[in-house]
Subunit: 274 residues, 4 copies
């Protein structure tokens, strides 16, 4: 029984953010994640002193060992470890821990360490407690409702880019940098999204005319996805917001329970609220 | 009678996407269309091995022959072939089949093969069955309702570009790359749409000041079409969505029938639902 | 009396677009305006044959003489010529006619001929009859209602650009192309509006960090004017649309009268509807 | 008592914009602020005559002395000087006055003079009286309500940029200009925000494919913050607008009082309206 209590306490600290200890754990974890990303980024920068690289290497190992302990703790503190291991965060956590071990055997694999950036998404766990949950729930809903339409729209944009790209390839030819149809399609995407690098740009008058038409078109087109999200989001404003906390069920790992819930709404297991 | 049944079955497979066979046909067709576009694109890329070009050439012919058979099958399986041949998709289908035959006689015409990209729009046929139809109907309606206003708006933008372009031509002159008024107008469109290639950029202080004003203006202007589509789309949200399937009438080729319809709502011909 | 009828008929043809003759006049005028703009643009292009420039010069004179006749006709067919001469279109019409005459005395003044582009705005006169009037009225209203807010917003953007530009000047210095504060402010406007020419770009790590912050900020900021117009436009959708035609009062030159109006709503003068 | 009246009058002129004298003072101050910014900017421009720099230096001193007097007047005319000195504008006013004095001792500190641009925000003080107050109140409210959501959104964008940037670093490598992960992340921000300088651009086919995906994604993503502000702003349209004037309490420095208020709504001190 004492062992169970110990496991529950660990579970509460690691998986939940409602208790002071749980909150502290999450904040420390976030700082370590940010530090580790900064270290990986700095490592890729050339021209620092040799000593700095050595320090970065050691710091990297310290953080990796901490992450390893955390990963093991997460597995042992949960009733059904599979629910964690094969969850989105479970895979991210594994991927953000192993690259350094791999780098002992495979050269260059330490660059994969920036997968750790994905762990930053955990920040929403802490924010969950505050009013952000309602916000991001509504935002998520608006994006989800718009997804199908935006997909249809982006698909149409890609079709337009393939056709315009081919036309530009025929009009401009290789001399202007439109070396092949894929390159021309790439140029068309760069133009239609108004990024406009300028590494490839039309030179002939007809090419510039077509480019101008594509741009004006893109200017009108950009209105469409924005309009969709706007309308969906406005529509979602009337929907009620349910207050949810970050309690995690020890049995099924479900982590969205309403305030005051005593049993998991997925598997019926008792929730430990103390 | 047996012949008629055979024709109906073929019609159902080719034109409709409600039966498993019809769905399979459409999916296979889409994959072939995508493959053929990828092949045409790859053919334009320089620096591949000679053998690859030979393979691509053969693959191109295989797909073209399949498209030819499909085109003939579409014509014979319909009661009034003219309705198909002169429809939007009929013309696209013909245009996407003949370039390779033409390339036997005319050099370079195979580049026209990317017209096939337009065939990708068929994807909406398959999606039609799902909830996408409601979405794209509403989206289409919002775009259609906004068209007049966006046209008025884009027309005003073009007038602004002609005037600003001429001013820049007078201010900057040929040294800065503003070689002629059309080029300056082209630059102005590139700037106002926030594409900004950088192949032409103002150099004189007055030119840069005018450019800055154009940009700030463009920043405020971009809000207008977005606002229009947003509002139209929001307004369309209250309109009811009618559920439509992809049944095609064998008589008049009309393909928008409500679920459960037994007769074509355009010509009164019986719909074969089996 | 016969003279008065003649004047009225001319007035109806030139100023109004409700009769077939008036419509035809406006369409011919628009085509001439577009042609004259195309000619002015072509004249600025280098590398055409000497004969082409001669033809363009003659064509320019033909159009200018037509515009001169039109300008005189407009003055004599109206009761109070001052109302026309000092109106927006009156000044535009004068400015688009005299540059060629001036070019006989002053070299280079023919470039001012593109002021004619502003005459293109007359197109809305023809469109007025159709449903476009409602559209552009509502659009104009939404823009007018948003103007104050967008001005406040753009002003804040300029303040941000001045401060960020100065910071970049201090950080990057002259080596990276940030030669002076005005140039840095220009760069900041180019960046914040997402145009991004690339003629000036930060080189130092701190400069790139600040640039990244400016961009992310600009990404969030661009939402503001769009949101304003969207909301205003949606709000204006509930307002009723009054049907207006292009009847022009011969007395006071007011040109917005409701369908079926018999007297001018500004001065009480009788409207000639025949 | 006479001294108190004198202080009140000064207070009314300097801090408030409801009387003609107060309005005039604010307009003169704004013109001086704009002039001083123009002078600082011009000073950074190279290639002007030596005499111009001398004039600019003198003008700078004249304005600084005026600002110094204004700063002292602000302190002595208020009952509790601390409320002003440590307020936002108090700090800005100090920062915009001292750099020139500092420049006598420290070389280069005069560049800090553009902090004066922040003083331009005072313009809203004058505009306050007009209908702008309602507008900017609503705008401010919409932005404030959207802040949390836009922050969540921008945070997600940064995470996406870190991951995509690292991928591009691995794919493109140093040859294409992707020298380190921070540089690649910088490139990714430049691309996703559609700025697109073109100083760094992908060269390999896989890099260009990933870049195209990032752009299309960015195109869809830009819709989100716009949608949020639109919806919030539209929602705020129903809220009532309270008319507020720029009366400042001599006791607690609170400056938002409703029209006709006789006592400060923060400390209960009498407001001098004469």
């Amino acid at each position: 029984m004492s062992n169970k209590t110990w496991k529950h306490k660990l579970h509460e600290i690691i998986y939940e953010a409602d208790t002071p200890a749980g909150k502290l754990f999450d904040v420390v974890l976030l700082i370590l994640i940010i530090l580790s990303i900064v270290f990986v980024m700095m490592e890729s920068v050339k021209g620092l002193s040799a000593q700095t690289y050595t320090y970065l290497y050691y710091a990297e190992w310290v953080i990796t060992i901490f992450f390893t302990i955390e990963y093991i703790a997460r597995i042992i503190s949960i009733n059904k470890p599979k629910n964690y291991i094969f969850s989105f965060y479970g895979i991210i956590d594994l991927l953000s821990t192993i690259p350094l071990y791999l780098s002992l055997f495979i050269v260059g694999s330490s660059a994969l360490l920036t997968v750790r950036a994905l762990r930053l998404l955990r920040i929403f766990r802490i924010l969950k407690i505050s009013r952000y949950v309602g916000e991001s729930n509504r935002l998520a809903k608006a994006i989800k409702d718009s997804k199908a339409k935006i997909f249809v729209f982006l698909f149409a944009v890609v079709v337009v880019c393939i056709i315009s790209g081919t036309l530009m390839y025929i009009i401009e030819g290789e001399k202007s940098g439109f070396k092949s149809i894929p390159i021309s399609v790439y140029w068309c995407i760069v133009t239609l999204t108004t990024v406009g690098y300028g590494d490839i740009a039309p030179v002939t008058p007809i090419g510039q005319l077509l480019a101008a038409i594509i741009m004006i078109m893109g200017y009108g087109i950009i209105a469409v996805p924005t309009g969709i999200v706007s309308a969906e989001y406005a529509a979602s404003q009337k929907a009620a917001i349910v207050h949810i906390n970050s309690q995690v069920c020890t049995n099924c790992h479900s982590n969205k329970h309403q305030d005051g819930a005593k049993f998991c709404n997925k598997c019926g297991h008792t929730l430990f609220n103390d």
